[in-house]
Amino acid sequence: MPEWPDDVAEELRQHLDDQYRDLRAAGASHDDALRAMADDVNAVRSRPSGLRPELIAADVRYAFRTLRRNPGFAIVVLLTLALGIGANAAIFSVVNGVLLRPLPYHDADRLVVIWGDLHRPGVNEIPTSAGEFVDYRDRTHAFEQLAAYDTLGFNLTGNGEPERVEGAAVTASLFSLLGASAQVGRTLLREEEEPGRGSVVMLSHTLWRRRFNANPAIVGRSVLLDGRPVQVVGVMPASFQFPDHTIELWTPMVFDAEAVSDNNRGSHGYTVIARIKAGLTREQAHADLAGVTSTFKAEHPDNYRSGFSARLRPLQDEVVGDTGRPLLVLLGAVALVLLIACSNVANLLLARAASRRKEIALRTALGASRGRLIRQLLTESVLVSLIGGVIGLVIAAWGVQLLIAAAPDSIPRLQEVGVDRRVALFTMFVSFACGLLFGLAPARRASRLSLNDALKEGGRSSAVGTRGPVGRVLVVSEVALSLVVLVAAGLLIRSFARLQDVQPGFDSSNLATFRLSLPPSRYSFEQGDRFFDELFARVRSSPDVSGVAATSALPFSGTGGGRTFHIEGRRVERPQDQPEEQIRFVTDGYFTMMGIPIISGREFSRRDTLAGVRVAVVNDALARKHWPHESAIGKRVSFSERDPQWYEIVGVVGDVKHRGLDVADRAELYIPHRQPLFSGPTVRPMYLAVRASSDPFAAVAAVRRELRRLDPNQPVSDVRTMDERIGRSLSSRRFSTVLLAVFASLALALAALGIYGIVAYSVTERTHEIGVRIALGAQRRDVMAMVVGQGMTMTIVGTAIGVAASAALARLMSSLLFGVSAVDPATFVAIPLLLIAVALAACYVPARRAMRVDPLQTLRSE
């Protein structure tokens, strides 16, 4: 054997010399020859040993052994991660189901909703009229199919209790447009859109099961809708819902000559959805549509005085609406919580790396390269993180159920939320990233140790802890991150509190409300009027009821609509200046019963019928808007230009919150129920409000009893107390506020744990030094100040960064706030104080231990 190193070196040198000479002789340049030789030498080494499966397997086995040796550590780390990752996966499931997953229709990304724009303020996103729909359908080329629909309620009778069912009138094209077919029977036919042939209905799966025991023989039979027999032609599968899960039946949309005539060109009552032809962009489809709408003004000058255009919005955006922003804020907050958890785990690993120095030094001495060590340590952290991810996924599956149960109905597509493949992939990706994130710093640090240092220092270490910059940076960022989440939660909580202080403008206590829709097929307007008179008279005699009234648009019921009108003596130059305000039809005594204050004049009485003078009541907002400098009482308004019927304003009442406590008061115009705007009125759906003597449910029962006596086939629907309605209007906000508050508490707890951990670790690590200081005469007070000061310096730096970051991020929050500025001074003072107080407590515990260090004992143990 050649002697090491001289012989071997000489021999290899010879080889390389020869090789160089030959390469040059063969015409290679000096550089090329060197490169070729270097490649030769490297050929074996360049194999990427880190990716060899057997090495990874060994690393994983080693990591498992290490974790088993230290189960306490493993459990703390796993729990922290599983909670952080689980919360992220749960929120992501909701974001995925609501925002990301395509709608459950065939090629849903080509589906759009068409909105009209009348080029006047307030009417730039309106539904479509029948005439417009027919023009879109017959004159555009960019769409495969178009469909129109309108949601409406039906009284379903026969087969048991009368029931109010939400349904939709749809064009037959809807089902093929969505790529949906019937489970039993068939979908609607085009010829069923013709007048006189539309007495058919399709049932949803839920209605079919609930009302008809899932009996397939129902197809072909007749049911009673609004007292009219219609034939069931099909049942849709359970997976089909349109436009949302509340709709339980579909009837054909019937467009007769009157509906598409110029008279009704302005009745924008239908939502139109369309499928863009494959290969066309939305812009191209819009251009095609614009070609059609540009002719509208010339063809129907009366209807489009300021012009008209149409816009397209993806159906997905339409369905998701404005739930995106709060969900993304929640996802952001929960991601911050996970970052904080990662920092904590990184700090734990740093501390543990210190106790593993000997092991690592030994492995280095035995020839493990630095890269190999980093790989080993990273394998450990990624492994921990992936296990945390798997547990997190289980937590998420459970958390999602909790979220769905707690979430308000107002979040669309909630039934579609669940843990699917994308959620699982997301979770695993997040876990992997976390493992790298919190593992990298400790691994790099640990691998930098030399055997010498490790052995020289004995058991003590100074590589980590408060004296190491990495640990300090981690704690500072934890504090900053948790401050951001806390501030966001604080702002939402303040908004919510403000909102709860808002008065609705009426007395909501003991108020039961429900909807009553007399079918026009069985009731004329006059019959309906008599029906209400009779019902009210009977109900008022019940001891459970102290008052009853009805309105066409109850506050917090989601109903209501606007109407243009004329003010006597005021000429309107431009059509867009014509006033348009909310209109409500109410029965006499409505304001008193609701507790809406009458500011001036009088309210409606029994004498306000078509036989008497036509009267109106306005709310304060309307009076101030249109008669800012004079009294509105005595002024007259009308709803048609040519043959004006004047309605005299006889009273001004207080403003009420109608759409939500966080929505600004709107101008409202009240008309007596018995003085309809036009001749030949039909009976209209009304909301009844019943003031209970004590128990609202007893009052509802009393009403139901009288109702059954008057008309056993008449259902009521949407039965709720007013307080419940107001609560529901806040539910979406309550949901995000509560969740954010939970995340913020979690963030605070993790940050406190982080501060505690690092300060406590530093005390342990410096016990000897502290002992020496005390022995040399340091006061215990000074020791305490030193330890607390250390923790608080980090806290205050982190708080300062967090405040700056919160202020920068405030913009994202402002749309979610109510009555609170996004940089609300109170929140921005209180939250940092809270955080500092918690941090102080977290520092105090280890500081007290430091104070009690016995100098003799520490010195003796040297």
Binding site: M1, D7, Q14, H15, D40, V41, A43
Partner: protein
């Protein structure tokens, strides 16, 4: 295809045929390392190459087993080189490995139907 072939050959070499190659080349005369690497490359038509990092460890391993023996030899006008020659033990090993190899190749060609060149 060429890549695949190289990979397969590589693996075969690792399985011991590399030893057979070295021993065969040292049968009729002693040679130095660079000479061996050039001969393997030339005689195999470039299909087999030995890199520095794999050739010398192999030579040392064979030497340790006593199959070959390295000696520093000085020739006039040249630097001294380490020449390897076959030991009697190595010669026996070579003979038996040759037989094994022959049988192996024969067996392979019987199975695969590839003519032995």
């Amino acid at each position: 295809m060429q890549y695949m072939k190289n990979r397969m050959l590589d693996r075969e070499l690792k399985k011991g045929s590399a030893e057979l190659l070295i021993l065969s080349l040292l049968e009729d005369q002693p040679r130095h390392g660079y000479d061996l690497s050039k001969l393997i490359e030339a005689r195999s038509g470039g299909v087999l190459t030995f890199r520095v990092a794999s050739l010398y460890p192999l030579l040392y391993r064979l030497e340790k087993r006593g199959w070959i023996l390295g000696r520093w030899i000085e020739k006039a006008g040249q630097r001294r080189r380490r020449y390897y020659r076959l030991t009697p033990v190595g010669a026996n090993v070579l003979a038996s490995q040759r037989d094994t190899w022959r049988e192996f190749v024969l067996a392979i060609s019987r199975v695969t139907g590839v003519e032995h060149a």
